[in-house]
Subunit: 337 residues, 2 copies
């Protein structure tokens, strides 16, 4: 039993209190998903010679929200970033910045949620670090996760590979994560059904890539939403991308919240959605694969790649007009991930 109920500065000192925190809270919390890392670096077996590495720091506020918490987000977000490269995610590192005064119970809850997400994704947490900052210099907890995955021979996905004629797929509804977090934070009660979509999508990417081996790329439309993702792809590939507004799945309560708050749902962050661009003749196979995967039941074909104007993304509206899909310029939803 920890004698302290909250995090103290001395939990970050490298001394005996830090050792007890590691032994009694972290090792227990991560369970089989973690490795008690007694040495400073984890040494890992990787089959083959090419690995994918991705990092993200999570500063979401509040730490807990319907459908998830910062821990689930930190595992899923990085697993998904590694998976977008076509790699099989295997290992995660975790770096915590804890604020003095954080209830140890909150930390334990987050660790359990990280363990569950890691087990679901099939990744192991192999090394970690904890720092403690004084009260007022953090916000409870920030978490960095860095993920490592192995790339199979021949897999070469890139945002620059989209070609005119390709088809754009989305694995499900837009906006659930961003709207859930902002409404929890602001105390808005749009609907009791609103839940973050935070989920590990590595299995979905794997089956989709099996079904559509010439897939150009995968992207998880997180910060900046679908608008940032598609504008980045259009720019990297030198193509235009046009999305059918009516084809994009959006939950009614999310659509309603966006209207009330003045948000563009295409710019709202998602944490459990995947975009993929595939050659037209593999689109149906990719769609079936996505729909058969966990979290992909509502997958849809939402648009296509065109030649010009290069570097831009467009929306074909329900009235048949076409407008630019604007990227976020200022700040819409801070601290969403």
């Amino acid at each position: 039993m920890m004698q302290q109920d909250t995090i103290l500065l001395s939990h970050g000192s490298g001394g005996s209190l830090m050792h007890r925190l590691i032994d009694e809270v972290f090792v227990t919390g991560f369970g089989a998903a973690g490795t008690p890392a007694l040495d400073d670096a984890a040494s890992l077996d990787v089959a083959g010679g090419r690995v994918a590495m991705s990092t993200d720091t999570y500063v979401v506020s509040p730490l807990f929200f319907p459908g998830g918490d910062i821990g689930r987000l930190a595992v899923c977000g990085t697993v998904n970033d590694v998976a977008t490269s076509g790699a099989r995610p295997l290992y995660l590192s975790v770096g915590f910045v804890l604020e003095e005064g954080l209830p140890i119970e909150d930390l334990k809850r987050v660790l359990v949620s990280m363990r569950d997400a890691a087990e679901e994704a099939g990744v192991r947490i192999v090394t970690g670090d904890t720092k403690v900052v004084e009260r007022g210099h953090g916000d409870g907890m920030y978490i960095n996760t860095t993920g490592l995955g192995v790339l199979a021979e021949g897999v070469d996905l890139s945002g620059s590979h989209c070609r005119p004629g390709d088809v754009v797929l989305l694995s499900g509804t837009l906006g659930d994560h961003g709207i859930t977090v902002v409404s929890t934070r602001e105390g808005l009660e749009f609907s009791t059904d609103l839940r973050s979509d935070a989920a590990p999508l590595n299995h979905m990417v794997a089956v989709t890539l099996d079904a559509a081996p010439d897939a150009r790329c995968f992207r998880d439309p997180t910060r900046g939403g679908l608008a940032s993702t598609l504008n980045e792809l259009a720019s990297a590939s030198g193509v235009s991308i046009t999305v059918d507004e009516l084809a994009v799945p959006v939950h009614d309560q999310v659509r309603g919240a966006c209207e009330m708050l003045g948000y563009d749902v295409f710019q709202v962050a998602n944490e459990g959605k995947m975009v993929t661009v595939v050659p037209a003749d593999q689109a149906e196979a990719a769609l079936s694969a996505m729909r058969s995967a966990p979290y992909g039941e509502e997958a849809a074909i939402i648009g296509e790649v065109g030649e010009s104007p290069a570097g831009k993304a467009y929306v074909r509206t329900s009235f048949g007009a076409t407008r630019i899909m604007d990227m976020l310029v200022g700040e819409q939803l801070p601290r969403i991930c």
Copy 2:
């Protein structure tokens, strides 16, 4: 040119301001040491099948201090952690948490310092992430770095490999980093010569391992200082470790500052020192190798491994007495790395 001189919340939004920050500040700042990472994950070639991975978040306060800054620390600290496993560090990821209002000039200065340290260590910064938190929810800048290195076949270093009769080496003076940071922070002026020792030690580890191929382990005595390191090794190996107080190099101004502030120099953090334990018949070779390496000029043999009492570290004082080398219990120097 960035139109803003300070970090805004919208620099973390995933929108166009974040893209400009990446293009105009990060890509320029890292130069050849970095890779413009347009995809979410970096894909990396690793020769051989075993990699070492280590992570650390740096929250040092102040951000700049004599001999270094948070950027140099973030590169060197993680490079050194990877190197302790015997791996050759190759790649780093970088995750920033920036506080709203941080001067962009400070960020640029830190990036240059990361670039220089990465070039010196021979590692590349291959992927990154930036989050922005509101004024008052950070402390200018926190940086996570995660490092990846390759392990040569047959290399198997571990803190549990120390055996009675082994010899303990230290690569130079103790306490320089911790005392420099705390005296900068508190406005104490002990000496104008006081400088952090933050440095990449991967080359030193490599030449020492060449010279002493049966080396048991390497450790960088950072938070918790030499006392934590030796107690951890004694515990992991089930041996006792005894250090000769007179053999441990300490700069006079550090010794004086420790006396004034009531610190035990064995508990003060170092960021450019390496401890290694080697079989007695390879100790001289290891010492010569360390001394020939950058940052190892003052390397010394400081102690030896004994049988019992297992799990404890001791100091043989200048008076010939032996006392327990206590691990830090409470908080001595917060926010030192």
